[in-house]
């Protein structure tokens, strides 16, 4: 069962990259408090991302001719793990580095590659994803945004995207839109377009979330003119391209480390308080063991990416189990802290806990809901 999802070991050869990440972290965000670091890949810091670019820590899987490092999926895992382990603010380059660049590399024209890939590797071109719409959440094939040929080779785009992370900061969106047929055609007739978010007719409106942050946005397109080179890949092949892209999105260590800053802070608290009762030991051990198992799964997924596969089902397994873990961490730590009334708790630990408690439901919504993933897994098991 899942024979292809075999155990793998991280190569030692990427240790140099980890050192370089640590140097940038020390230089740039040494004083960032844990409740800010808990934002991690929702934390936007364009300066930090450009610094990673100049340090050669972006575009690790891209070939050198496009400004990349040509080092592959394991190298990217090492860098991403170092960044997430300390809750570095990686949102600015996150989507571009993780999925837009591989997408452009795989499906883009030579001109698109030349225009975007070197700038992504420098941390200078920032991308977001345009998938969800008001009427197309889990049912992504129901997207209504529509691009029509303008008669001179280009496109006119109208419609709306929502829950687009960070759109107010970004340069480009890769949007999944309908280019032919009607909503009844479902997966057929969808295409991916590169949209310049500074173009006339694009309106971006941030949405305040329950923590008080504004990470998500609504993006409106009113007859936006796009050039002939906006189309990425094949017209009508958007669904297959998006499916492959989602394997990149779902398989990484970001699906197991969203609460790791809190876990570190809580363990430091236990050590300072001198707590070693059975309940504390068992809880620390349980969370540590689950994180270890998830790491073996994430590494196994990375090995599939390194072999050039698109591990759609495997990535769904990791994401569903990983987000469950990420959500459990704030829940059980809240109870463990509240259950020891005599202990002083640092305000920054409480702020970190409060933030993660509030935002945790999003972990199993973003990038595909728990229920959608379980459907994908079920199909992978031969059901339906």
């Amino acid at each position: 069962m899942f024979e292809s999802f075999g155990w793998a070991r991280l190569p030692d050869s990427d240790a140099d990259l980890r050192e370089r990440v640590r140097a940038v972290v020390r230089e740039q965000i040494a004083d960032l408090p844990p409740d800010r670091r808990a934002r991690s890949w929702m934390g936007f810091d364009a300066t930090f991302s450009r610094r990673l670019g100049t340090a050669g820590l972006l575009g690790l899987t891209l070939p050198a001719e496009y400004g990349g490092q040509g080092r592959g999926a394991f190298a990217r895992f090492a860098v991403v793990e170092e960044l997430l382990a300390v809750g570095a603010p990686v949102a600015a380059h996150w989507i571009a580095d993780r999925q837009s660049a591989p997408l452009i590399l795989h499906y883009g024209t030579e001109a698109q590659k030349a225009r975007h890939l070197p700038a992504i590797c420098r941390g200078e071109q920032l991308f977001c994803i345009g998938m969800s719409e008001p009427e197309a959440g889990s049912d992504l094939a129901a997207v209504r945004s529509r691009a029509e040929r303008d008669g001179v080779g280009g496109w006119r785009l109208s419609g709306q995207k929502i829950w687009t992370t960070g759109a107010q900061h970004f340069d480009y969106m890769i949007a999944l839109v309908r280019t032919s047929g009607s909503a009844d055609d479902r997966q057929r007739g969808l295409s991916q377009l590169i949209v310049d978010l500074k173009a006339p007719g694009v309106t971006i409106r941030p949405i305040a979330d329950l923590t008080g942050d504004e990470h998500f946005c609504e993006v409106f397109f009113e007859d936006v003119a796009l050039g002939p080179d906006a189309l990425i890949g094949e017209e009508g092949a958007g669904w297959a391209q998006v499916t492959a892209e989602l394997a990149f999105e779902r398989s990484g260590p970001e699906r197991i480390y969203s609460s790791v800053v809190l876990l570190d802070a809580w363990i430091a608290h236990l050590r300072a308080a001198g707590r070693s009762d059975d309940a504390a030991l068992a809880l620390v051990g349980e969370l540590t063991a689950r994180m270890a198992a998830l790491r073996t799964m994430s590494i196994a997924c990375t090995a599939r990416l390194a072999e050039g596969d698109s591990p759609v089902v495997e990535a769904s397994l990791v994401k569903d189990l990983g987000t469950r873990f990420e959500q459990d961490v704030p829940r059980v730590i809240a109870d463990a802290l509240a259950g020891h009334k005599g202990e002083a708790v640092a305000p920054e630990l409480l702020r970190t806990l409060a933030y993660l408690t509030q935002i945790a439901p999003s972990f199993s919504l973003r990038g595909g809901t728990r229920e959608v993933l379980r459907g994908i897994i079920a199909r992978g098991l031969g059901l339906r």
Partner: protein
Amino acid sequence: MDVAELAAPFERMLEELCPPPAVRAVEAGDTGAAQAMWAGFAASGFLDALVPEARGGAGLALADIAPLLIALGRHAVPLPVGQTMLARAWLDAPPDGRIALATPEAGIFGAEPFRLVANHVLVVDSGGLTIESALSGAQLPPSGAGPHLAALIAAAAIAGASERVLALAIDHANTRVQFGKPVGRQQAVQHMLAVMAEQVVAVRLMVEQACAVPNLASCAAAKAVASAAAADMAEAAHAVIGAIGISAEHDLQLYTRRLHAMRLAHGSESHWQRVLGALRLASDAPCVDWLRAEIFAEVGAL
């Protein structure tokens, strides 16, 4: 050695030696059936897989035989095969026959799952090894030996039994028709099976990780993850397969009873969570660095 070269013949041997009727006979106390099954293992040479080549064994590492240990669980092998493999590697002059492991430090309840079908019991504590039999005589434990490896063998059995009950549940969900369609078309059933699949993969990969780095921390993590999953796997498989799965005649119970036994064998999840928690709390390293160093043995992690 290529692991696949070992796994395929081992799997064929298990299919021949340990079909469900043979497992039932051994569990019912048929000593002749146990002898016949054991004779097959003894003749195969696999029992000396971990014995150093200098003593006539194959000199393999735990990582090499991880798929074999998992296969033992997939076939609900009712004899202490993995345990005997470990004991034969640890003892300079191992006795013939089936050697069960006892680990009093990891809790008495369920600690000796194969005592009734063993010829010898090797008591494994952090202080040393003791053989309870006519061939008794204490020996110093070789470096690295300890209760955590007995626990790892049990975790591997859970990994294999979990794969089996998931396969049985999927097969049932695809063939059992209710409300005019296979029950596997029901989303509630699909989601149960999806969660089972997640646990199957998590347990197997964590067991393989611990076999690759068989220290106290990684074995504790493997047994904690496996034991925590074992009861869930048994519960979900019975839920999917329904009333027929409760019958003695259905094979499901061979594996779900074993899941519950192996969950407790050599320490249940809370025991190994506490062991792991104490190791973790002894260090001021951040979580990811600690995992990389202590469980994954990666260079330069701390």
